[in-house]
């Protein structure tokens, strides 16, 4: 079992230590980086958004890049649900929808502070300053694919596949240190 020194950041007994990630947040002038605690992630695919919404019993955002109650619309038929740890969704067996638990696939970071957008812009080719709060998208940080979610003017959430997480953390810390 993970203890306080090695917080559980993904299911399947994966801890920050297992991934060689730091267990302490990082703070610099105007910036704070922190690992997101373990949470449930679901990849949702369906041609019929209404059927998918009815299957999982949640409303889905309509427009690509919008978020609604922890659900991000990534593509025309693809959503990513970021839910509290332990949350489960009905899998919709037999229906033309795909509801897949990918909780252990990714690791999340939060980047907060007035310098957050500038830090992300050190490796992300998007025009981060123009991204509206509440918008989220899949994109790149250097060569690593991330899901970037602007939660407010000064708070971003970044998800990346967990094998990339130590590098991404190091790159963000290096960027924060100037």
């Amino acid at each position: 079992m993970p203890d306080a020194a090695t917080p559980d950041i993904a299911p399947l007994a994966v801890t920050a230590a297992d991934l060689h990630l730091p267990t302490q947040p990082f703070s610099a002038a105007g910036l704070h980086l922190e690992l997101v605690p373990a949470q449930a992630r679901y990849s949702l695919r369906a041609r019929d958004a209404g059927l998918l919404a009815a299957t999982i019993g949640r409303a889905l955002p309509d427009r690509i890049g919008d978020t609604l109650d922890g659900v991000i619309k990534l593509g025309p038929d693809e959503w990513l649900a970021l839910l509290p740890a332990g949350a489960t969704l009905p899998l919709g067996e037999g229906l033309p929808v795909s509801v897949v638990d990918v909780s252990a696939r990714a690791v999340g970071f939060t980047i907060t502070g007035p310098g957050a957008a500038a830090l992300i812009a050190t490796g992300c080719p998007l025009d981060v300053e123009r991204m509206a709060p509440g918008r989220a998208t899949r994109t790149l940080f250097e060569t690593v694919e991330i899901v970037l979610w602007r939660q407010s003017e000064t708070a971003f959430r970044v998800d990346c596949w967990r094998s990339f997480a130590p590098w991404l953390w190091a790159a963000l810390v290096a960027g924060a240190q100037g």
């Binding site: 690509i64 890049g65 990534l74 593509g75 025309p76 693809e78 080719p125 998007l126 998208t137 899949r138 994109t139 790149l140 694919e145």
Partner: protein
Amino acid sequence: MLLIHCPYCAEARPEVEFAYGGQAHIARPLDPSALSDADWEQYLYIRNNPRGRHHERWRHAHGCGRFFNAVRDTVTDKFEVTYPAGEAAR
């Protein structure tokens, strides 16, 4: 940085998010076994190499994940238009 307009995301996005997918609007023959070798070669290997307007497939690989079609000028590298896959050539 080259920006490409993704017709699904409805945004101009950086080129590094995209993957090139070759010439667009090449329909697979419905009955390959009925084709002559020359026709099959034509379908498999022979592509346009225009100086100017080129119809090509792109995929927003690190974005919405979708294939779409684009008209790009091979001289200026300017994208004239992008449109969803399945629509008629522009």
